[in-house]
Amino acid sequence: MPTRREILWEFGQGLTGIALAQLAATTGAEAATRSPHFASKAKRVILISLPGGISAIDTFDYKPDLEKHHGKETRGANTITPFFGKRGTVMKSPWRFQQYGQSGKWVSDLLPNLAQRVDDLTFIHSMVSRSNAHGPAIFQMSTGFVFQGFPSTGSWISYGLGSENENLPSFVVLPDPRGVPPCGAANWGNGFLPAAHQGVVLGGESQPIADLNPPRSVSPVEQSATYDLLSEMNEEHLKANTGDDALAARIKAYSLAARMQVSAPEVTSITSESESTKTAYGLDDPVTRPYGYNCLLARRLIERGVRCVQLFNGGHFGAPRVNWDGHEDLMANHTKNARILDKPTAALLADLKQRGLMSDTLVAITTEFGRLPISEGLGEGGRDHNPEGFTWILAGAGLKPGFSFGATDELGYKAVQPTTIYDFHATILHLLGLDHTRLTYYHNGLNRRLTDVHGHVLREILS
């Protein structure tokens, strides 16, 4: 039964919301499959997010001029204002660049495995963020807005397309095994969208889903009696308190929890995977295994109809650093993180392609901002935040493979023609068959969008 809020919402939508109005018929909590706005190749998404800010100019945005200007000050219009205020001099990349693949893409030695995949990737080198602080910037990456409380990209996708598997959540989040990213759950929150579209967090390999099963002291009969009485009590309580989305969502959460108890162990167990697959994902190496397991799990979830998986490589900020925030020693920081990121991510891309999943799956690799071409302080070896020009990567269905779009200036500081995060989100939705101006939710007097009032689909990168 639709709740009061949804009836109002459906009414507010009028005829424009017909494609999505099926949602209202399912109490807003159930994420049933829904039709996209138009035909598309991509049906599902893996979002790989790199908190801390991976450097573009030390990975995929090759700037030979950094070598030429190494040690010089930036002056005049080129003066750079770092986040922490410690302005150093131009710093060349400590890594060597080479060309890879048919596309001849320049990639640094930092990511040797991902370098082998460049012909499958689509690079956007002109990304800009509205903030140079992690919190707001990571919110913009995840939700489009620099403030907390807006629906995450995965939630919008779940809302727009629904689920293909009623026994699993439509939006699953796999945080870095070293810890949740900055701002935690707000990165996968549903904001004002129905709560069923919130990302569901799975833990690491040792316990993918905490408390999936009751303690041994509770018998199966007691467990099933518990579910029965609980659902009866909650249904009656809902009848007496109509119009509250959270109550319906809690009931759905319990019913999905009960189904997950049955379906989840099959997904999270990787015993059926071949040894060569496990090795490819780096599971034979204790350094790459935790993140590698998550990459493999992402593929298994996608195969079983989960609509969106958001995978994090990097945890919270602070000391010791467990993400890409290479302020003090870029070399040490990025080397350590690249060692974890490179092999499993490249294996995931290769595996998706080899299994034919790339033909209807989209992969996005994002970070909250890049890093400055100058050192952080004179004679120092770190780089500060750069929201003025950085690289995001797409791969998969509907894209031009082995293609680079946009550019930064000769030092890799500012985007020449900026591509906004709104543009990127509009493009992701477009690739999934959703028009970002029509994927709306009526909230607080506005038809809210992932792209606010902005965003242009990047037609140049579409195949």
Binding site: G135, Q148, A195, V200, P214, T226, M233, A257
Partner: protein, 112 residues
């Protein structure tokens, strides 16, 4: 709360990031949380303590125990229908399991 401090515990309970303005705290509501509230040993321990209290305060009187549980958890008396339904449950299942149901109910967990 310090920006950049170690806040893993706070984050998992939806604590807003201190570097941004947060007019309203985001609220999680997921099957994983449902599983935790159902199956975590901590919750089972609380259910056990509640069951012990009900036994202590209303020994051997099932109806009275149900009424007491409603008063403690919901601040109201059960309706006659609720009382007979819950009585059937506690006659068949341990009181501890009944307390676990109540601690998981929307009426207890969710304050509108």
């Amino acid at each position: 709360v310090v920006r950049g401090g170690d806040r893993i515990m706070l984050d998992s309970f939806d604590c807003p990031d201190p570097s941004v303005a947060t007019p309203q705290r985001s609220i999680s509501n997921t099957p994983v949380q449902a599983l935790t509230l159902l199956n975590n040993p901590f919750v089972l321990r609380q259910a056990e303590l509640l069951a012990q209290r009900l036994e202590r305060e209303s020994p051997d009187n099932r109806d009275e125990q149900i009424r007491r549980a409603y008063a403690l958890l919901f601040q109201r008396a059960p309706s006659p229908q609720e009382l007979s339904r819950d009585r059937r449950f506690v006659d068949a299942q341990p009181l501890l399991i009944y307390c676990r149901v109540l601690l998981n109910s929307n009426e207890f967990v969710y304050v509108p």
